[in-house]
Symmetry: C2
Subunit: 360 residues, 2 copies
Amino acid sequence: MASMMFTDCSSSMTSRLFHLNRRNGTSLLRQCVGQLRFQTTASGRGCIRSSSSSPISAISAETKSEGTATVIDGKAVAKKIRDEITIEVSRMKESIGVVPGLAVILVGDRKDSATYVRNKKKACDSVGIKSFEVCLAEDSSEEEVLRSVSGFNDDPSVHGILVQLPLPSHMDEQNILNAVSIEKDVDGFHPLNIGRLAMRGRKPLFVPCTPKGCIELLHRYNIGIKGKRAVVIGRSNIVGMPAALLLQREDATVTIIHSRTKNPEEITREADIIISAVGQANMVRGSWIKPGAVIIDVGINPVEDSSAARGYRLVGDICYEEASKVASAITPVPGGVGPMTIAMLLSNTFTSAKRIHNFQ
Amino acid sequence: MASMMFTDCSSSMTSRLFHLNRRNGTSLLRQCVGQLRFQTTASGRGCIRSSSSSPISAISAETKSEGTATVIDGKAVAKKIRDEITIEVSRMKESIGVVPGLAVILVGDRKDSATYVRNKKKACDSVGIKSFEVCLAEDSSEEEVLRSVSGFNDDPSVHGILVQLPLPSHMDEQNILNAVSIEKDVDGFHPLNIGRLAMRGRKPLFVPCTPKGCIELLHRYNIGIKGKRAVVIGRSNIVGMPAALLLQREDATVTIIHSRTKNPEEITREADIIISAVGQANMVRGSWIKPGAVIIDVGINPVEDSSAARGYRLVGDICYEEASKVASAITPVPGGVGPMTIAMLLSNTFTSAKRIHNFQ
């Protein structure tokens, strides 16, 4: 996203700036936070984050002492949703003897994909959804993957099918995703679902999990969408584009900002609601944000942090410290949208089982 | 579009205002054009249009004497496209003996629908596309319509199928449109086509004709889209929404304005490109427009005009007189987008025949 680049003030840079600041006074730090409108002179910390152990508790503490923004606690909301699903799944089992089932197809041996799949399995277990898994070797053929998809399409105990992305490069991702039965496309990535999402008077069978999670957070925090200016940063098929379509369905006036947008800062500053899904650490600064705006940060970006046990920590697309002083509400990273994605996957799987078995 | 209402200054009102103006001085006219930034005091005509015989020539004359905007001549561009299609259709017939075919299904006896269908037939004839037509009575059953759709789906001499809307109220429009084979959906309204239009890396088989015509006009006039701010007014499935998706595919930064938008004027004023498809005569005033913006006016609204032979004349969503003084380029109504819609329908039908017969 070339046109969105700015003087690097991301967290990976901040520890160096902080040291310079302590040695040479505030001038270098000012270069970093020069555009910031609502920077408090008392703390003068700009986008610098302390490497505290628990991000959520750290943020809450900061919010209390300096910021004004309500922290949108995705972890707590996701837990509540999982609890609701647990009760409903149990009711379904008791009433009609059906247990919802989610099948995941994992191809290759990417560690991150294996972790995601493991987490999904754990989440399914926690709410009583049965999980099915097929692991195929990196050098499997597309036909083998398609055979697995087809098997799950035909399996009545499977209500949702998820092909873990990315797939090995020798495979046609479109071809494989298109093969997933529209009735079991709990990821909501099928173009037929996206088309229905875009069209007024139509209803998709499933809404993609991450953008659905973003909107659910707004709902659960009673944040009005109708008539609001909304800016979505990023236009991916998985998050940005469907998030924009969802906001539009809820009567927001939506602008999508992307790599070719010439003045992202100016446009973002007009938004009452910002959803950022661009994958650039701390890209959106405090100066980009209209006072009182609501911020949903989908980005999860690793930045170097020698003080962290793993040598890195996770930050969002939004410079949290700056934004939390300007916004009225903001999701932390981690602990914001992340936990909602899996909760929405469970919700979609349960919805699918309900629809297939006509369970009210 | 409640929130877009403004002091009525539409053309249906202007003749009365003009009389008052002549009697009582300029005060009432000023109420009408009060927000206008670039009103020339010399003419003082605001949104008043002379009921000249040929709209295009009238506009051209006005452009020369007062305005600065280039008139985007949709009639001329559409003719050029039809000429190109005529040559290609003839080449196809000579090379592989195939004549592209377009089938139209008309249900009921709406006069406007009958006129549209007649015009489509004439346009097909003019480029050498064979046209098929089924006319069903108003009280036909949905099954009868579906049978006609199915027949054309199976007919190899038909490459495009178009169900004339609106359908009688006892029919399920979605159901009937969904029955049209995706390979022959030359209207591009199938959700699968819309989904592919929305998704990056996907390609729809057909793009809806009117928005396709809007973008084609920009292309033919060498108007850059990439990186531009674009505002689409109206979010219908047929024009506004797909127009926004198309602009986004061409790397514009797009905002859709609709009935729930609180400050349409302010947002529209940020746009380099405006596409309006809202169906409100002269709604967009000169004051809504950024100097140098490009305007594509999809609206075709009848307004009373006692001096016209039919008692009315057609105007767009944009107050042409005001806008043409501010914009750098503008489509007239009629003679702008209108002729492009049918040209794009012919283009889609030819594209379909090419694809089905693998003709390059």
